[in-house]
Symmetry: C2
Subunit: 147 residues, 2 copies
């Protein structure tokens, strides 16, 4: 397994985006910067402990982690009406468990490809701006989640 020391791990040193809620074992953040430019409804569940793989967690922690992923997904569905939600735990660059929870729309520049593929069309700026206006309500609903 990939191993980087905790001292060198960006998710041990920083929240990893806009902090929405901090819980005992994980935090909920909204992706910022270039990561979210094309898909602004892009959140992450970041496990607080420096663990690389989902299967490193005890089953109770796996359940808690996936409860958080599922709850964030539900909020995105309610607040942002995506065509699809994409879930992923990759961690090739930063092997510290974090789940991407991404609201995808059928007008986004990479749809229907994964967000890591090349863009297929220009960004729909007016639609992106309208979507960004709904993020504060989405953030608030995620901040209010109880686990």
């Amino acid at each position: 397994m990939a191993a980087i020391p905790e001292a060198a791990c960006p998710l041990c040193r920083e929240d990893g985006g806009q902090l929405i809620a901090r819980h005992d074992k994980f935090r909920l953040i909204r992706a910022t910067g270039s990561d979210a430019a094309d898909c602004p409804g892009f959140y992450r569940v970041v496990w607080n402990a420096h663990v690389a793989e989902f299967s490193d967690l005890a089953e109770a922690d796996q359940l808690l982690c996936l409860r958080a992923v599922s709850a964030v997904e539900r909020v995105l569905r309610d607040c942002l009406q995506p065509a699809k939600v994409n879930l992923a735990a990759l961690g090739n660059m930063v092997p510290h468990l974090h789940w991407h929870v991404i609201a995808r729309h059928d007008w986004d520049s990479r749809w229907p490809a994964p967000i890591w593929a090349a863009p297929q069309r220009a960004a729909a700026e007016a639609r992106l701006a309208a979507l960004r206006e709904r993020l504060p309500a989405c953030d608030a609903a995620i901040a209010a989640l109880v686990f």
Copy 2:
């Protein structure tokens, strides 16, 4: 949410790859063809019912589904010694819940990018061939999983 009729859904009509094990609520398959050309240790947990989003499942089913994902991940770690396992539930093209469980190696042509990004280097044919030789043992270990 994206909705396609079950009659038109490829994962309602076919297994979706090489069938490794069929369980009551899900099946375990190994990806074949171009999907697995660069990353042969590529398995999927396919939910049998035509459900689009992970958060559509009741919590008991979410737990069962993630137990399967985690168990497959464990087998991949044991049998294929990946640098990292990548997990993803996307479904933009086929909105029928399926989890990708992919063994990534630091020599694969897209590493450290997600498998959906463009290749960064030529395929390492000798290493790929050696990895493929280990798939039957990996398949057998996955087939033997009990849920």
